[in-house]
């Protein structure tokens, strides 16, 4: 196994105590995506250009206000990786022509929702990885089209209620395995993160920042509005996603997938589902044991294939 690099983030006490991203953004109170963004922006820093595909987060910078200290650019839903290519090329040309000092170079960061990452923008992302574009891709995954009222996306989990998947069975499809799809391109780095596990998140961003090439991250983003829970539960739900095994924290480096936090005794998925209004139909008017066990079985099957 490759030698483990030493992280400066050993415990929560090593995390920054003041934050770089500006307050006063229009994200919902309790937004899990914004929580993750706050944490990762502290590490990425202001020498960055964010290329943001349409979604909740494009409301971060609504003229004349921005929370970013560096640059930010808006693109259509499918086009952020193409936008990132343009920005990267422009920076490279400026450096090459000595119109910019290499020390002033910036990280090019794509920021998109799951609607873009798992769906509309997947082909542009695939092409960017193929070209080995030197960029960071962050997908905040709120498991639906949040900005337009939580319609289902290719990231919506089986059985969840969305604006377009109602009824007693919820969404009939299955969440796409974007981690595996991305990893199959053999990019420099792929990882899953969640704002409720900040040390794991910090280490992964730190690692990604030390590399070049396509570095791809998916942040599970509990969404009080779309998932229908009290905003104060955002972190509790994020932690439960990990403890129930619903959201495996893992990374892909050098052709190997490693799990970075294996829940020793997995809590039943019910503990996670029951807190969220989008799964209320699984518990009321009576408990849908069949569907809950199906969800549990998929999680169990996943972990039975994980060697530790």
């Amino acid at each position: 196994m490759a030698e483990q690099s030493v992280s400066i983030y050993r415990s929560m006490k090593d995390l920054p105590s003041t934050h770089l991203l500006g307050t006063g953004t229009p994200m919902c109170a309790g937004c899990g995506g914004l929580e993750a963004l706050n944490q990762l922006y502290d590490i990425i820093g202001e020498k960055s250009v964010f290329v943001n595909a349409a979604g909740c987060m494009t409301l971060l910078s609504v003229y004349p206000f921005t929370p970013f200290r560096g640059s930010w650019l808006y693109t259509a839903m499918a086009s952020a990786p193409a936008g990132a290519q343009g920005v990267r090329d422009a920076l490279d040309i400026l450096i090459q022509k000595k119109r910019m000092n290499p020390d002033d170079d910036m990280q090019v960061v794509v920021l998109t929702g799951d609607g873009s990452a798992y769906g509309m923008g997947l082909s542009a992302t695939s092409a960017a990885m193929e070209r080995e574009l030197n960029f960071l891709y962050i997908c905040y995954d709120n498991e639906g089209y949040g900005n337009t009222g939580q319609q289902f996306s290719a990231a919506t989990p089986h059985g969840a209620k969305t604006a377009t998947s109602t009824g007693s069975a919820g969404y009939p499809g299955y969440k796409k395995d974007l981690f595996a799809i991305w990893a199959a391109h053999k990019p420099a780095y792929v990882a899953t993160i969640v704002g409720a596990e900040p040390v794991d998140l910090a280490r992964k961003i730190e690692k990604a920042m030390s590399m070049k090439g396509p570095r791809m991250l998916i942040a599970l983003s509990p969404c009080p509005t779309g998932w229908d829970f009290d905003p104060k539960e955002t972190v509790a739900i994020g932690k439960l996603a990990v403890k129930t095994g619903v959201w495996p924290l893992k990374e892909y480096v050098d052709g190997q997938v490693q799990h970075t936090k294996v829940p020793r005794e997995r809590r039943p998925v019910e503990d996670y589902l029951e807190l969220q209004g989008r799964y209320r139909h699984l518990f009321e008017p009576e408990k849908n044991v069949r569907l809950i066990s199906e969800i549990q079985k998929r999680v169990d099957d996943y972990w039975s294939n994980v060697e530790d």
Binding site: M12, K13, L15, S17, T18, H19, L20, L21, G22, T23, G24, T25, P26, M27, C28, A29, G30, C31, G32, L34, E35, N38, Q39, E46, L59, L60, S61, V62, Y63, P64, F65, T66, P67, F68, R69, T166, G195, A196, P198, P224, T225, D230, P231, K232, E233, T234, V235, A236, R280, E284, P285
Partner: protein
């Protein structure tokens, strides 16, 4: 034509309230228009919705400029200029405010001659807030005097058809209770003929020169200037740190705050109330439970008292 505007915060059910009222009017045989207006902001942020109802086809479009009835779910919105609660309110307008303060206080404070009604604010528990919309619709329907009890109930059942039975029943009970309580004021709302398109007079336009793209493109050259936006106004609950109990772990509240509104200086956390949206994540996550959720109104009253005594 009846023109009704509903004001609230995202998550308080005002959009649904306006839809229910619109449906109830429709069941009464009216032509109806009902539209929500969201800003670029979300749950907790000021939003409004409006309903027009007439016995003839409605050709009027857009936001209601001169309302006959204004329903306010959250009285903390009234002093927020951006919420536009008082826009176009004149002597004929009826104001229905969800508030614990008296009608007289509101009339005096706002210097208004119009009719004001209040609904005593409900439980401060966030779980109860979702029924506030129903209470507002019920009271509004009675003040209008144009919607029967039966059609109000039917509209609620229709509009909430997808919700669990217990929730529909709770909404029904709240709405009908408010409807009954307003009995003696039935028909307080009057309509007003509005300026027609024919009488439209062109405003005194000011010509703005077309600037070079470098100036006119919406580029933001500032850094982190979103702090100018006071999202603290969204808050209905305020997290308050008990510094005696805080064990100065220093990271938990600050790291988890979705808005980055808690900074830690020399191991002491400090909440930025200008920007805290009141999600209460810190209250739940603080290991020694040193952060308490205080209703914003109570906290503001305490602030005012302290300010007066010092």
């Amino acid at each position: 034509m009846y023109r009704i505007r509903f004001h609230g915060r995202g998550g308080q059910g005002m959009i649904t309230a306006s839809r229910i009222l619109g449906s109830a009017f429709f069941l009464e045989g009216y032509e109806v228009q009902d539209a929500p207006r969201y800003g670029a902001e979300r749950r907790g942020a000021p939003i409004f919705a409006y309903v027009r109802a007439d016995d003839q086809p409605i050709y009027e479009r857009g936001v209601i400029a001169q309302p006959d009835l204004v329903v306010v779910a959250d009285d903390s919105l009234i002093p927020v200029p951006a919420a536009g609660v008082l826009a176009g309110v004149d002597d004929h307008t009826v104001l229905l405010i969800n508030s614990d303060e008296s009608i007289e206080t509101w009339k005096q404070r706002l210097n208004l001659c119009c009719k004001v009604f209040t609904l005593p604010a409900q439980a401060e528990e966030r779980a109860e807030l979702r029924f506030m919309g129903a209470t507002c619709t019920g009271a509004a329907a009675r003040l209008l005097g144009a919607v029967s009890r039966d059609n109000l109930a039917r509209a609620i059942r229709d509009e909430l058809a997808e919700m669990a039975d217990a929730i529909v029943e709770k909404n029904l009970a709240m709405a009908l209770d408010a409807y009954d309580r307003m009995q003696q004021y039935a028909g307080s709302v009057t309509t007003k003929t509005q300026t027609g398109a024919g009488d439209y007079r062109k405003p005194a336009w000011i010509d703005l020169p077309f600037e070079d793209a470098r100036i006119s493109a919406p580029d933001i050259h500032a850094s982190a200037n979103s702090t100018e936006v006071r999202t603290g106004l969204w808050r209905t609950l305020r997290p308050v740190i008990d510094y005696e109990r805080c064990n100065q772990c220093w990271w938990v509240c600050s790291t988890f705050c979705p808005d980055g509104a808690i900074k830690v200086i020399e191991r002491t956390p400090e909440i930025d109330y200008d920007h805290c949206k009141g999600c209460m994540v810190c209250v739940v996550q603080c290991p020694p439970h040193a952060i308490e959720a205080v209703p914003e109104q109570t906290a503001q009253l305490q602030d005012a008292e302290q300010g007066a005594s010092s």
